[in-house]
Amino acid sequence: MNHVTDERTDRSLGRDLQAWLEETVAELPDGDELPIDLRSTVLTRLSNTPQRRRWWPRMRFPLRSRATRSARPEEPPAERRTRSMFSAIRIAAGVAAFTLVASLALAAGPLTQTSVGPGAEAQAIDPDAFGGFSGTMLCGSGGYGSTTLTDWGSSTVGETYPRCAIEASDPRISGNNYSVHDYYRFDFAPPYGVRRFASVITNEDGSWISTDAWGYQQPEDGTMFYAGRFRGTDAYEGLSALFVLSQDTWGLRFDVEGVIFPGDLPAAPEPPIEAATASD
């Protein structure tokens, strides 16, 4: 009997609940529709919110072999893969060259007397200083700069990205990033662009300042590809970093990878005149 009474009162309360819930929704200014301003906010923020597209399996440090990369079913399209492999190979070549130089130097004498390029003479090399990193950079909106139209497209100076944040596997290179870009846009079909930029990465321990950084726009999908060399200050004094950033499909999220190393790059060699002559 009690059970029957409970059921009846539950049904009764259920009906009351249903009516009450419907009324509370109906009394909202937009009823059961999404509020217009909320819809607008969501759609506006959407344009600055890239989708997360499996950037993590494509972490390129430690470097994977060609076979491993091609075995992954969710690899990027061929154009992007070619470009990424190119950048990975380029960094790998730099790392290998540096390792070779360091090994030769180590073989030649005690560590403390090793010379690692200009500006690093007589400095000890901390083995922990060296390291590859990978991660992401996420940017907020920035300033558009000043654009001049030309016969071939446009020239822009002072485009800013003041609110970028880098999260990398190496905390030394993580931090806030501020960049200023100058670029040319060529309005051919498809359009593409090239740019140079100055950039500073700052965290609690020090900063990284770009000394030579450039980028270009992928003609096929409009995404950006950047590379740069940075020098450390404060706690990172005496260190350099090579950076490669590739835009993740679209939006302002970038894959980041690179390497931190002591000293600086070797001076650029003279152009191989004999080879150039032979090819003429």
Partner: protein
């Protein structure tokens, strides 16, 4: 029912398609969030975060036909987060003097909006979700279990405990409040089955 073709297009970065999804399901999400959290600001935040998270994470959704269940779980997470963040919904609503009784149950006894509101606010968020999905969206327990990713038996027990707790709260309210003397307006009778 949201079209899976829209979901698939949105998964590939089609913002127009996602706008279609927002229009199709956003209002319902907002209504759920509001009825559960009982606060417009919290409901807005939970809904906004849910839609943005859905956009970000959509490429990871394996089965487009499961979109509604998937986004409902995101909403549940965000409701929990907003609830924790604000904890404004936890205390029972203080009585509002002079508010009209608007709901009449089948046995003729009067349950005022305030009593329902106060009783509902005594429920924890999991119980509220079960109640809202069942009584507002009219979803059967099996579907609620799917939406919340919990066993069907847990849905039944949450509903049972929620109703029991509300009964207890309403009874306690009746004992402490001055009885309503004027006859209540019998509104929304069509909602009474």
């Amino acid at each position: 029912m949201v079209g899976s073709d829209l979901v698939v297009r949105a998964q590939h970065g089609d913002r127009t398609a996602f706008t279609g999804l927002v229009d199709a399901i956003g209002g319902r999400l907002h209504a759920i969030a509001f009825t559960v959290l009982r606060d417009r600001d919290l409901a807005r935040d939970a809904t906004q975060q849910t839609l943005l998270t859905a956009w970000e994470e959509l490429p990871r959704l394996r089965d487009p036909d499961r979109f509604e269940a998937w986004i409902c779980r995101i909403l549940v997470r965000n409701c929990h987060r907003e609830g924790r963040k604000a904890s404004r919904w936890l205390p029972a609503l203080p009585g509002r003097p002079g508010s009209d009784p608007v709901v009449v149950d089948g046995s003729g006894s009067v349950i005022t909006r305030d009593r329902l509101e106060r009783a509902f606010r005594r429920l924890n968020l999991d119980q509220r979700l079960a109640v809202v999905l069942h009584y507002y969206l009219d979803l059967p327990p099996a579907i609620i279990a799917d939406r919340l990713d919990i066993p069907v038996g847990t849905v039944h027990s949450r509903l049972r405990r929620a109703l029991h707790a509300m009964h207890a709260a309403i009874d306690a309210d009746e004992r402490t409040e001055v009885p309503v003397t004027s006859p209540p307006a019998r509104i929304r009778q069509e909602a009474v089955r």
